[in-house]
């Protein structure tokens, strides 16, 4: 069922990629340079990036040679294999066996952090877990109000300070409240920031350190929220957030559009940061665990 929903969410992406690939691969074409060039272009259009697409196609070329594949129709399963291999590195579930599990949500402006926090809270609440939302975004106008609305709708508690107050202090209080109230999860909604702003990145590092002081071992998850429409800059985002917060995973949002999110293939492959969840719609249930096989299956059909 999960699979069906994912497929539905990704249908547009899927049919698009599949159509393109089918056009490329159809009709018993010869497996030659021209074919590989076209496969590479298809991958580039999925935002996999020039370098990654090139490397993947080289690998594909090698395998076709080794397995003496001469019919273009037989190339498809190999494409799936090659991409899935890259995505599999380190894919894992959310670490939620701690009590409370402290989950810190980070990302650039407009990637969908607050909405993702709400969906995560909803997931925990559906399992009858106790959730605390920490309104750590004290910068953006009305961000706290937005999270407050979500707290009410999902039945989570919210810890908030004034707009403009110290984000690290909110994080500390949220975790302290999580411990006191025996919550299962504390979700910290941090302010969006450009990864190029060294001052704001330092601030984020501080939030992370202070979380560790409130509860040794916290945060247990630091998740980068990545907009699937983002192109090659996503790699830079991942690198920079990684260096200040030690990311434990990625949440890929807005996959319900026609965006393909292929850049995560490069990120998983080159930085070893697993994709943990994907957002495939505006509904509260539309945040799903990531599964490499499903993802590739959904994209390539």
């Amino acid at each position: 069922m999960v699979f069906e929903r994912l497929r539905a969410g990704l249908e547009r992406t899927r049919s698009h990629m599949r159509d393109m690939l089918n056009t490329v691969l159809s009709g018993g074409r010869r497996v030659d340079d021209e074919l590989f060039d076209e496969i590479e272009e298809t991958m580039i259009q999925a935002d996999m990036g020039f370098a990654t697409a090139h490397a993947l196609v080289e690998e594909l070329r090698q395998r076709c040679r080794n397995e003496r594949i001469t019919d273009s129709e037989a190339v498809m399963p190999l494409i799936r294999d090659v991409v899935e291999d890259r995505l599999r590195q380190g894919t894992s579930d959310l670490l939620t066996d701690q009590t409370p599990a402290v989950i810190m949500i980070v990302g650039v402006n407009g990637s969908g952090k607050t909405t993702t926090c709400a969906k995560l809270a909803h997931r925990f609440r559906t399992d009858k877990k106790r959730v605390i939302l920490g309104a750590v975004d004290t910068f953006r106008a009305a961000a706290i109000d937005q999270l407050e609305v979500w707290a009410q709708r999902t039945g989570a508690d919210i810890i908030r300070h004034q707009e403009g107050s110290d984000p690290a202090a909110v994080a500390f209080d949220a975790i302290a409240a999580g411990i006191a109230r025996r919550a299962d999860a504390v979700i910290l909604d941090t302010a969006g920031r450009m990864h190029t702003r060294s001052d704001l990145m330092k601030e984020l590092g501080k939030v992370r350190r202070v979380a560790g002081k409130a509860l040794p071992g916290a945060p247990h998850e630091v998740l980068l929220v990545l907009d699937a429409t983002t192109g090659q800059n996503a790699m830079r985002q991942a690198e920079e957030f990684q260096s200040v917060t030690e990311l434990t995973g990625i949440i890929l949002t807005k996959l319900d559009g026609s965006a393909r999110g292929g850049v995560v293939v490069s990120i998983v492959d080159q930085l070893g940061i697993p994709v943990k969840m994907i957002g495939i719609g505006e509904g509260m249930d539309d945040l799903r665990p990531f599964d490499a096989a499903e993802f590739v299956e959904a994209i390539f059909g």
Partner: protein, 432 residues
Amino acid sequence: MRRLRGRGKLTEADVNAALREVRMALLEADVSLPVVKEFTNRVKERAVGIEVLKSLSPAQHVIKMVKEELINMLGGEPAHLQRGGGDTSVLLIVGLQGSGKTTSAAKLALHLRKKGQTPLLVACDTRRPAAIKQLQVLGKSINIPVFTQGDRPSPVDVAQAGVGHARHQGQDTVIIDTAGRLQIDDDLMQELEEMKSMVKPDEILLVADAMTGQEAVNIAGEFHRRLGISGVILTKLDSDARGGAALSVRSATGAPVKFAGVGEKMDAFEIFHPDRLVSRILGMGDVLTLIEKAEQSFAEEEAKDLERRLRKQEFTLDDFLSQMKQIRKMGPLENLMGMLPGMDRMKGQVDLSQSEDEMKRAEAIINSMTVVERRQPVVIDASRKRRIARGSGTRVQDVNRLLKSFEQMRHMLKNVGKLERELKRGGRFPQL
């Protein structure tokens, strides 16, 4: 023979070789593949057979053409907002979720008021929780009125009421902030079509995230098909994204990018300059270097002169200043770093904004010196230092620091000169 003489006409092979590089650069900058293909084909058609300029290599010549074509493609000159015939101009802001519509709406309002207009912000995002509140808070911070009817009525009704309100109050510009939506969400796109037919906007501005990837062409294309986009606001240009999406959006809509969002503050909003973005798209690495070379070959004479004077140890503070200006002309230091091989990774890790400030200060200090002082810094005594510090709005310590680093640079250059002479004489590589 021809190769010996160098130049001649651009052959197809020359063009193809250079365009391969360009293609790679554009794709890495997230320009959509169909746009890249169309573009390179066009350049190829124009370039083959053209006489190569004397001072350039064939590759440099092609890339010079590429840069010109890209600037043309983005519209050449900065574009301005259109005003309709009526007293009240209506601007409709549309885009995907998270592209930055609400922030841009407020920034645009501030920008227009600075130009003497009296804008009204209308809050039509009734979907996202607290979106109206966000616009209200922003409006209050810049002291611009915000019209809202809460999140109950339909956005189309709010928009209409807002425009009516502005007319009644005699405000000359209405900026309508709408909810973010996917271009493939038929219901919500229909809502915008309806809003358009009711309020008859003078401009429909698409807010596009500069970090968008290959999808940009489809997003913009669909918004344009449904609504007819008249201009684009390119946001988040303060990231280090190369911003190739601008080309995709332009090619899909034909509409010019009119404004750029460059930061979180309300005044971090600029009129968009196509030529600046082109340098950034071609941006880091070899391609830009090639172009810079192509454009600056005329400056070679100047460089030779400097070299000659260096050898003679005549390097003055004037030269120091012109070197600094050269560097600043090439753009922010952050971007320059990216051009150096291997430095790309270091971007963002070193705080370069400080060095930029320092450079500005140094320029001010040198500008406050007399001609004699610039040529012969030895004459600068304590009293002159105090005067220079006053003139440049700095402190005597700053003047001292500048003079010291100038001395160091002169010393370093002297050694380079020596080293070169040694090597030319076929001498041993001197110990440094």
